[in-house]
Symmetry: C2
Subunit: 340 residues, 2 copies
DNA sequence: CGCCATTTTGACACCGGTTACCTAAATTAT
DNA sequence: ATAATTTAGGTAACCGGTGTCAAAATGGCG
């Protein structure tokens, strides 16, 4: 009993004895309408359960109510946080969220995205890191006249199309915290080359050393790829050193936890023998034992802000905001270094 | 230089000197067209870069090209896998994926979903567990004439609206494997009450015991909620028993890993002192040390199948498939019990 | 009461496609 | 050669909304 097909604006108009246009005015809360007819029409709408057809609206308005999240990020927790944030920003509006993953290794990412934008014509897109760091794609959106916000550690000094976090300052703070605790030999496990966020985090690391008068020991720098395995490998090579570091800063939590596991395998106690600081504040970081001291990366906030920038041009506050704070979360993976 | 607004079907018709309808026929690959005009029109389409407007099509066809994933599941890895699977199923079609999370604790989930379906009118929806277990919502889809597929351990004996996995058999196999290894005192950490999947997994557990002639010891049953913390709690209470079990089956990986951590905190060696088997095969399960023996839950396959069922009525193979195999993955968290 | 300004409402074309129906040309049958 | 049938393509209405602009209704004021 799937009932007859849905009532349309014409049905409402006929029953309420007004024109379609008047019904349209009621739906769109136009101010130039008498209270009397508005009530009458609203009554009819409620009676017959009329709901405007979004496709028809989209056609007439020449714009739809879709925000797309374009990503090439394989991290599940990140993705889900971003989606949550965008949906929070969209809540209460007519907008819906569409997800569009792209293949980071494909040579024609740009073509793929162009095709998507041209076919689907989303009202706006949120570009997620690392795809957000691709200037060509941002230009593509510009050319196609598609609203966009780039999320990440992009540090473009323009509020309109960007939502960033101050990774550099936050890492500087975190590493300074290690130094304050008495650590001098501090290692870093870097993120993948060629992206902004690992660069920023590395920069913050150096900044902290410099302002404490320490100099960077290249022997304590390890490459990483943001994966658990790369953290294990880097951690292992660090703890096997003759004069191993007393603390490690890893550019993300997964690698930090990998390093933790590697250290433990080598018989080290954490944090007594080795302090560790991560970055991201994934749920996992509070689940491991000892719980991981890390930098909270405000993904959900960034995503919510990005969504608001796209759909709420009047929200001056959201539109002005483009640099959100990453803050240090002290847990239990850091203590002063043991005397040697 | 955002260029003038996009070419429409009228532009193509005018330039190719045919009617709109003929262009429409070309787009829709209608067979009743001469090869000559088809080529001419296709040439014009390519020349001016015409792309059909999806909103207009949606309006005229009275159906859009949107598949929505409706979920109330907080697990990030699960969600991302589902999205990946659905997108694989949708790949190459005109369909796009929309995500619609609902609040599992809200009393008016049904109203929320009804509202979404009525407003957005997606072509089809994939209901994810545990929402998929709610019969009221399935009925709602029926009433609203919205195609749907319920994913999960739903075990409705009807292929049309269901994609399930054989959790029960798989768990039975996994626990039988423990028994073969020589374990007799096997504990279970259950999933949340009131959902099908934990029930099925528990049933499989009992089945394995029975067919081996063992009887269920209620003292070795612990409640859980699929969270890491509940796994820690359950694990701890199990290892503190005077005659503790030699093996634990946890109804998901997160709890298995929680139990693993709890056991280690109590000074137990894994797997020497305690074997552990999980369920899901999350990436984490191969990252922990020792790597977790677990049951692979074919989420991606299930999601892909669900998507195909929605959009490819001709794909008889996909439409007939509704029970996908969960298979045991042997890693290194199980060994025969130590002599006591 | 009549006139003008203002508010409220409606007629109609249009957004960019599709369907139903129709016509003219081409082909086949008689 | 003519009628019957098929094939190729066109016409007009329609899907369900919105924008424009003008008409109708209302109200204030002399």
């Amino acid at each position: 009993m799937a009932s007859d097909s849905k009532p349309t604006i014409n049905d409402v108009a006929r029953i309420a004895e007004v024109s379609k246009k008047t019904v349209s005015r009621v739906i769109n809360k136009s101010p130039l309408l008498s209270e009397k007819t508005r009530e009458r029409v609203e009554q009819v709408i409620a009676d017959i359960g009329y709901v405007p057809n979004p496709q028809a609206r989209a056609l007439a308005l020449r714009r739809n109510f879709v925000i797309a999240a374009i990503h090439d990020n394989p991290n599940a927790q990140f993705l889900v946080n971003v989606q949550q944030g965008i949906l929070e920003g969209l809540a209460g509006s007519d907008f819906n969220l569409m997800v569009k993953p792209v293949d980071r290794n494909s040579p024609n990412i740009t073509d793929d995205i162009r095709d998507f934008l041209v076919r689907q014509r989303p009202y706006g897109v949120v570009l997620l890191p690392p795809v957000s760091e691709n200037d060509e794609i941002a230009r593509l959106c510009d050319d196609l006249g598609c609203r966009y916000v780039r999320m990440g550690s992009v540090r473009l000094d323009e509020a309109e199309h960007t939502v960033s976090s101050n990774d550099r300052e936050a890492v500087c703070e975190a590493v300074s915290y290690l130094i304050e605790k008495g650590h001098q030999r501090i290692a870093i496990i870097e993120g993948p080359k060629g992206f902004t966020s690992p660069q920023e985090r590395r920069a913050g690391f150096e900044e902290a050393l410099h302002s404490a008068g320490l100099k960077l020991d290249e022997a304590l720098v390890r490459p990483g790829s943001y994966t658990f395995e790369s953290g294990v490998a880097a951690g292992q090579s660090l703890v096997e050193m003759a004069d191993r570091p007393t603390a490690i800063f890893a550019c993300n939590d997964e690698m930090a936890i990998g390093a933790m596991i590697a250290a433990r395998r080598s018989g080290l106690l954490i944090p007594e023998d080795l302090s560790i600081v991560g970055f991201d504040d994934t749920p996992l970081s509070s689940h491991v034992w000892p719980s991981l001291t890390t930098v909270h990366w405000p993904i959900v906030d960034m995503a919510r802000t990005a969504a608001l920038k796209l759909i709420a041009p009047d929200d001056v506050e959201a539109n002005a905001r483009w640099l959100l704070p990453s803050v240090l979360i002290e847990r239990s993976s850091v203590v002063p270094p043991a005397a040697r």
